[in-house]
Every structure is written in structure tokens, then in C-alpha cells.
Amino acid sequence: MSSRSSKSPRERISRVVRDIPRSGIRDFFDIVSQRHDIISLGVGEPDFDTPWHVREATIYALEKGVTSYTSNRGLPKLRQALARYVEAQFGVAYDPDLEMLVTVGVSEALDLAVRAVINPGDEVLYHSPCYVSYAPVILFAGGVPVAVETRAEDGFRLTREALERKVTPRTRLLMLNFPNNPTGATLTPDDVRELAAFAEAHDLVVVTDEIYAELTYEGRHVSIAAEPGMKERTIFLHGFSKAWAMTGFRLGYACAPPDLTEAMMKIHQYVMLCAPILSQEAALEALRDPERDIGPMRDEYRRRRNYFVKALNDAGVPCHRPGGAFYLFPEIRSLGLSSKDFALRLLEEESVAAVPGTAFGPEGEGFLRCAYATGFAEIREAAGRIARFADRLRRT
């Protein structure tokens, strides 16, 4: 019997981890999963199934016994195919042997990129509302997250002025995500040029998460990595989850100059070893004729977006028309409820699940994320219910 009082498990948790709040998405998920017969606009993944030829090729690979490790960087033939794809699609040439790393989703790649360049105390600029992992990943690396608000009035574009207000001599990194989760915002070529000039002026590394690039509905997607002089300071991240409807395959990749790739590789080789080989085989198949797979899905998303944006605006719920991804981010402020209360009551009273904007940062207060990665009939029904709910709120 020891008299030494032992710590509770909770007290044993590291400070960094303890101080990171639980994800708002998870909170909301727990509430929603109690409910059945709801229409969910809460998903961050496509409703489409992975293209059959990709699944079929994966089954074949499994039958052949393709079940081993791969090189840490990923299958050479996959990296070669990725290099060709990225050059054709984004206009940046990366060396598949030295400048490319296959990862377990963009999720892992985000973590690697930030850890590879951040020293404790370094400041990282990211725009908010944004994807849920950005601030935590910065904190895990010992960095200081500095949020830059994007606003509905600007179509949630990130402007140089907003960045200039937050940049300091300690700023080391700028994180970008366009088309954006949760707002669907895209950038114009001029915006991208401005952001590149900003990064150069302050000598920042740029991590650009372009996972929704192919799901762009107006104009052409432009990568900041393709701006003159930017390749040297940019870590380009992409993956198969969204455009190919392959979330469960967990496959992404990072492209960066050799030294930065090598730095990410150092972490990746010890914590992940390699991405799953079956998923790498699947990705190789997915790169066979990407437009054939993606084109019809993009067309369908665009039609749903057209319908849904109009339905919400017609119902007096102001919603900007996003240029990409598969999310609407309507403003519900004028209806007199907080994001969270609005989402809870919408679920309670109309059985529609949409995620409170605050799950994507405090800047998301007053907004709701409605994914249109769900069937047209459901979107139609959900839009009607939101309109009815908004009407009721206005009358009470």
C-alpha cells in the first residue's frame, strides 16, 4: 500500500492536448446520432459511391495479394501518375522522386506540413471559418494559430488587407483552403496573385489544401503553387476523398520542394510508415481518366447548388453563391438564434441536421453549414423545411 496519491487519468493528459477543445462537429454528431429519420445536410463527404472501376481494381489488387508495405514515399508508379496529373491540372511540375509524398489523407499531410516547418512559438495565419483540424494541428506542433476572419460580404474570400492586419515578425506560415470547407468560397486569379505577393513580402511558407479543386463550378481553379516563384515556398496538398468520392480510402499527397518533402518524410516514415497499399492501387486506377469520373459528379453538385442557393434566398435565408466544394453557408443571424440553437431547433422541429457555423471557428457564428452532398430529393425537402422553420421564427 502506497501513500503516494496517484494522479487521475485526466491529470496525466498533456497540457497541449487537454487545452484543445472537443470538436464541435463531434458534439453535434452525438446529438444527431440519437435521431432517426432525419435529412442530413451534415456530412463532409460525397453521397456518391466511389466509381466502380476504382473499387473493382482494388478488389483485383487484393485478390492478387497486393498487401505489403510500400516505399515510405508511396508507390513509384503512383507518384509518377500524380506528377503528371498535378502538372496537367494545376500547372506545377513536381519531381515524383524528390518532391512528392503519398499520405493517409490530406489530414495526415496537413499535420506533416505544419510540423515540418513550425518551431514552438511560431505564428501561423489561417482563415476562419475553416476546416476543423487547422488550429489543432498548429497547436500540436507548438505553433500559435492566428485566425483571419473571412466574411460573407466578400464571398468568404481571403484578402491581403485582412492578412496584413494579423501578420507579425513571428509569422512563419500561411494556410489556405480554397475551395473552402465550410463556406464553399473560391478565389479569383487576382486574389491568388495578391496572396502570393503577400507571402513573398513576408517570406512565409504557404500550405495550400486544394482538396476540393476539381469541384469548382465557376471559372477555373488556380493554384497558388503555380504563381511565379511560389513553388519554392509552397506545400501543395491534395487527395482523393472529395472529387473521387474516396473518403474511406484515406489517401492524399503532399508536393513540395525536395528539402521540405524530405522533412515531412522524416515524420511520415516514423509515424505512418506508408499509406495503405490498396488505397494507393485504387488511386492509381482513379487517375486513369479523372474527368470521366469527376465530370458527372461535378455537374450534379452544380445543379444541386443552383437549386439550394435559390431556395434559401427565396425563403429569406441569405446565402452567398459558393463557387466550389459542396457546402452552402447561409447566414441565419437575422432569425434571432445563435448558430447552435438554430441547428438544434432545426433538428428538433424539422428533423434536418446541419452543422452550426461555430464548429468551424468562432467566426462561423451566425451561419450554418449545409452540405449538398446528398440526393436532390432530400435537398429539395430539406430546403422546404428550412423555409418553413425560418418562417416560424420570423412570426414568433
Binding site: S33, V43, E45
Partner: protein, 160 residues
């Protein structure tokens, strides 16, 4: 011609003009006008339901019949193909490349009805030099639609 509208109609012709319009970013009047044009020009020839016959009370029997034809000096296969097409039993008639000439889908109440159509009407027709009849046993997919509702894998309802 609005190819996207046509594709939407092929997939689901029952959507309202307004719903079609809101998806395409057009007005309902514009959609109605374009559909009327497609119909008038004979591009859209009709609308029908995709039926899983296995779930119908007294299901239709379908046969696929390969037909060999002696081409006519003038008109090739057309005249004969049209004659066959006029029989209501013949649901679809196609001109084919390869070993057969025409492919005919025939529907009837039972095997007897179909075989009597083939032996009494189709095979004896002048110009028909041979037929091979295959009965359709089960439909897995028709016009891009799977007939069986598989148990759908249920995805999470909220994800980041």
C-alpha cells in the same frame, strides 16, 4: 439543344419544370419551351417508367430475338424492320452489326404467346431467313437503374 436538360429528363422525366429550371439556373418558362421544342423536333419521343417486372403481380415475359434477314435490292433492311416494328408485340427493334441483322425485343404474357408470335408472324415473314429466340430470365439493371435495392451501407450523418 440543351444536352444537360435532356440528360436530366432521361434520368428522371417526372421532375417539375420549376425544379429542372432551378437546377439549371433557367426560368420554368424557358425549360417548358425547350422541352416542347425537343418533343416537336422528335428528339424526345416519349416518357415511361422503369419497372422491375419481378415485383409486378403478373409479370410480362420478354424474349430477345436475333433475326436474320435477306436484304432487299432497294431499301436494305428498312422496310422489313419497319414491318416488324409495327407489331405491338415487338417492343424494341434494332439493326445490328455482326452475325445477326435485327435484334427484336418481344414482350408477351407468357412463353406461349411469344413463341406463337415468333412462329406465326415473325419467322414466316418474307425476307426473314432465320430467327433465334432467347428468353430473358432476370433483369439486374435496366436503363442505368439497378433493379434490386441492395441494403445500403449507412454512412455517418455528421462528418467534418
Amino acid at each position: 439543344m440543351n444536352r444537360e436538360l435532356l440528360d436530366l429528363l432521361v434520368r428522371n422525366a417526372r421532375q417539375s419544370d420549376q425544379d429542372l429550371a432551378d437546377q439549371l439556373g433557367l426560368s420554368a418558362e424557358a425549360v417548358a419551351g425547350q422541352i416542347a421544342e425537343l418533343e416537336a423536333a422528335g428528339v424526345v419521343r416519349g416518357y415511361h417508367a422503369i419497372v422491375n417486372e419481378d415485383k409486378v403481380e403478373d409479370p410480362q415475359v420478354t424474349a430477345v430475338i436475333e433475326v436474320q434477314v435477306v436484304p432487299e435490292r432497294e431499301g436494305g433492311f428498312n422496310r422489313l424492320a419497319l414491318r416488324i416494328s409495327r407489331f405491338p408485340e415487338a417492343r424494341s427493334v434494332y439493326l445490328m452489326s455482326g452475325a445477326m441483322d435485327l435484334l427484336v425485343f418481344v414482350e408477351g404474357r407468357d412463353l406461349r404467346e411469344i413463341s406463337s408470335f415468333v412462329s406465326e408472324k415473325l419467322a414466316p415473314m418474307e425476307g426473314v431467313s432465320g430467327t433465334r429466340t432467347h428468353f430473358l430470365m432476370k433483369t439486374y439493371k435496366h436503363r442505368g437503374v439497378l433493379m434490386d435495392h441492395e441494403d445500403e451501407f449507412e454512412k455517418l450523418k455528421v462528418t467534418p
